[in-house]
Amino acid sequence: MARIGKIGRFGRLMLLAGALAAIAAFGVSCGDDEPDFPTRDVEWFVGFGAGGGFDTASRIIAEKMSDDLGVNVVVRNIEGGGGRRAVQEIARSDPDGHAISIMNMPNQITAERLDPEDVDFGELSWVGRAVIQTYGLYTAAANDFNTPQDLQGMPDVRFCLSGLAGHSFLVASVTTEVMNIAWNPVTGYRGQETQAGLLRGDCELALGPIAGSTLTAVQGPDFKVLWMYSSERFGPVPDAPTVDELGFPELGGSKFANNGLVAAAPGTPDDILQILADAFDSALQDADVIAGINNAGMGVDRLTPDETAEVVEGMDGIVSEYIDTVRQKSQAQ
């Protein structure tokens, strides 16, 4: 023990240098550490009631994400305002990554434009895309019209829609303007009430995501899809032509698809966002998750956070282009 007390000046310097190096190395290694996230359960907001397509997909993905993150990802239904309450909730959440929300886009952008609530979708921290649902236009099988030309010859075609503020109303407004079809909305049809409306003759046409129970219905003998809003044939309904094939490519691509995009609060740090995005992306590659989402009639088409932000920007442009058309038709009612 006595020898330890007899360290020379050089030895002391070396010890000091070693200690400083150790502290520095420790500091560097602390700086490289993963952020302290998650420290508690992560809440996943769904702006719709339990049992719907987005809710089902959210619960399937959240369960897998829980395994990756090591905490529970708890789905919380915050219904209201056609999904807008959940958007408000995430826009106001703390930017610590412990709250994320799935939202139907570009529906939320349209609603925000028609009735502003100061939500800036460009400010949200985008995690990725959970699901995509391709829009289609369908009718009762008993109706004898099939093409845009058939519809152009009719006096006033009635569309069964949920209301005058949703994405379906925007798609209907744009479609009829581009195809030169005279039309009128019949509102208040939610979910599968729409199909009952078509069968009763309340309206001639309906449009919406061809997914879930709507997909089931249009695959049956009572309904037929007149066209899909895509540039390529839609696998589950292969006989339905695309708008591109019908000569209206401006309505094609995935411009009018219904996207289930997932966002965290504005200002969420990049490293936390990356952890969320990794867990989210990993869940979307899981075979059971994909099967579950496909069973629910939706598709998986993964996007990185940056790609998601670009998609949102593109949607914003489309809504801006057509919002006046929507507003005019809405005010005419």
């Binding site: 049992g51 719907g52 089902t56 619960r59 915050i78 807008r84 006033d156 009128n184 129970s213």
Partner: protein, 502 residues
């Protein structure tokens, strides 16, 4: 079809099926008894757990919940004046006065048996009507639906005949409250006062719990004692419950009418158990030779309410199974379960997956029988709640109510709304305004607006659509008949003018 039925029946011996029915029934009774929760929340909570289960087993669990919640909900309606579900509201009108008379056990016996018979009736009708579902669904167009709602509103207004002006005023306020919030039809917000909470209007669960449960608590807490006014009254135990169970058959006409109304209203998407409940109760009162007994602890009132709210189960399954058109929240969750398990409602279900159809039908029947046994067997024990001093019960009911209100949407403002509704309800009681007319105005007002608008949009603005469809004409005739009959009865009751009076 018969073969599938026999297969389903044989499958009920499977221990997993028995376990599923017991699980569903337990959840249904539990969530039904706790005010404000109900079957939708029970089904929502169990839904994700069924992912990966055998679809048949999952369907038995859901059927168990569907078949039991409103039966369970009758118990707190009778004993605590707190409807377990919205479809049990009318049970409070007579069930609770019976409890106050010390006849809670009898009321439970009446309710459990009426519920079981109502369910069995509707399920038999469901099985018989499955092939005719399409015709029924096409028959009810928006203008028909509008007249059906008007019929309901008029029936309820006459139900508060002893105070018609106050009843009309309360109903009008109910309709106005229904207009609050975002109107998806017009895409505008109305009367929201800049509050995000009011975007979706006033939630019915906090409103009803506040009006009926919490306002009653204020009354009882200020009075003290026990819910049954004479705390020494013997509720009669099992014998009294069985007396109530047998007594149901003395009200055959009310039972049959309630079962038919429940089944028919249930089959109309959007109408729901609450509408069936109110319509059955008010129609029973309207048709009764002793309408003054309704609301005073009349056994027929309990039968009218409980037979209809359970009979809606069979009716509501009809459009869901045949067209995949869910008529209420329960069916939306069931549809979610179909989607989760890759089941396709509609023709495919009725042709290729009859095992699923029968699992649901047999599951509802088995759960209803099990619930009836539980409630009849445990009713004596449950009935004793009404003898416990209010000072012990009040905190329990208050906490239960607040949990129920909060659990629906996890929104603390719903709790605040329930408290506000309790104070308004208490004031209305004291001023003699019927709360129930306000609530029915609220429930039906929004639907009436939607169907009225839809009708005009369909016709391009022409009002003739309301008077030209066969079902509309039948409903209009029913409205005229009801109005005429009420006026005739009122005229007969009015004292003859004395000589010399003009």
């Amino acid at each position: 079809m018969f073969e599938a039925f026999l297969d389903g029946l044989a499958g009920m011996g499977n221990p997993a099926v028995i376990g599923a029915i017991i699980l569903g029934t337990t959840l249904g009774v539990l969530f039904g008894v706790i005010p404000g929760l109900g079957s939708v929340i029970a089904m929502t909570l169990i839904l994700p757990f069924t992912f990966g289960w055998d679809p048949i087993i999952a369907m038995y669990v859901f059927a168990g919940i569907i078949g039991t919640a409103s039966t369970g909900g009758g118990v707190p309606a009778i004993l605590l004046n707190t409807p377990g579900t919205i479809a049990n509201v009318c049970t409070t009108f007579d069930g609770f006065p019976m409890t106050r008379r010390g006849e809670g056990g009898r009321a439970i016996g009446l309710a459990a048996t009426a519920s079981a018979l109502g369910t069995l009736f509707s399920i038999v009708v469901l099985a018989a009507l499955l092939p005719l579902a399409e015709i029924m669904l096409r028959a009810f167009t928006p203008p028909d639906f509008f007249w059906l709602i008007i019929l309901g509103l008029i029936a309820v207004t006459f139900a508060s005949r002893q105070n018609m002006m106050k009843g009309l005023a309360a109903g009008g306020v109910g309709i106005l409250i229904a207009l609050i919030g975002f109107s998806p039809v017009f895409g505008v917000r109305r009367y929201t006062l800049g509050s995000e909470y009011l975007w979706d209007g006033i939630e019915i669960v906090p409103l009803v719990i506040g009006f009926f449960a919490l306002s009653e608590l204020i009354v009882y807490t200020s009075r003290g004692g026990s819910i049954a006014r004479d705390a020494s009254v013997n509720l009669g135990g099992f014998r009294q419950i069985m007396r109530g169970a047998v007594e149901v058959f003395q009200y055959k006409a009310i039972l049959l009418r309630g079962s038919v109304i429940g089944t028919v209203i249930g089959a109309i998407p959007g109408a729901g158990g609450a509408v069936a409940n109110f319509l059955s109760y008010s129609t029973a009162k309207q048709a009764s030779k002793t309408p003054e007994l309704f609301g005073t602890g009349y056994a027929g009132g309990v039968v009218a309410s409980e037979s209809s709210n359970d009979a809606k189960d069979g009716g509501i399954l009809l459009p869901t199974l045949t067209f995949g058109i869910p008529g209420n929240g329960e069916m939306v969750i069931l549809m979610g379960a179909f989607v989760l398990h890759g089941i396709q409602p509609g023709r495919d279900l009725l042709v290729n997956r009859l095992d699923i159809v029968w699992a649901i039908i047999l599951g509802v029947i088995a759960a209803q029988v099990l619930t009836t046994i539980i409630i009849l067997g445990g009713g004596a024990w449950l009935a004793r709640i009404s003898l416990v001093p209010v000072k012990y019960i009040a905190p329990f009911v208050a906490i239960l109510s607040f949990i129920g209100v909060y659990a629906v949407r996890s929104n603390i403002w719903d709790v605040a709304l329930a408290v506000f509704a309790a104070l308004v309800g208490f004031s209305m009681r004291r001023a003699g305004f019927p709360l129930i007319t306000l609530v029915i105005g609220f429930v039906l007002g929004q639907l009436a607006e939607e169907k009225f608008t839809q009708s005009l949009q369909i016709s391009g603005g022409g009002y003739s659509i309301f008077f030209t469809r066969p079902v509309s004409i039948v409903l209009l005739l029913a409205i005229f008949f009801m109005l005429g009959w009420s006026m005739y009865k009122a005229a007969r009751k009015a004292p003859a003018p004395k000589a010399g009076e003009s």
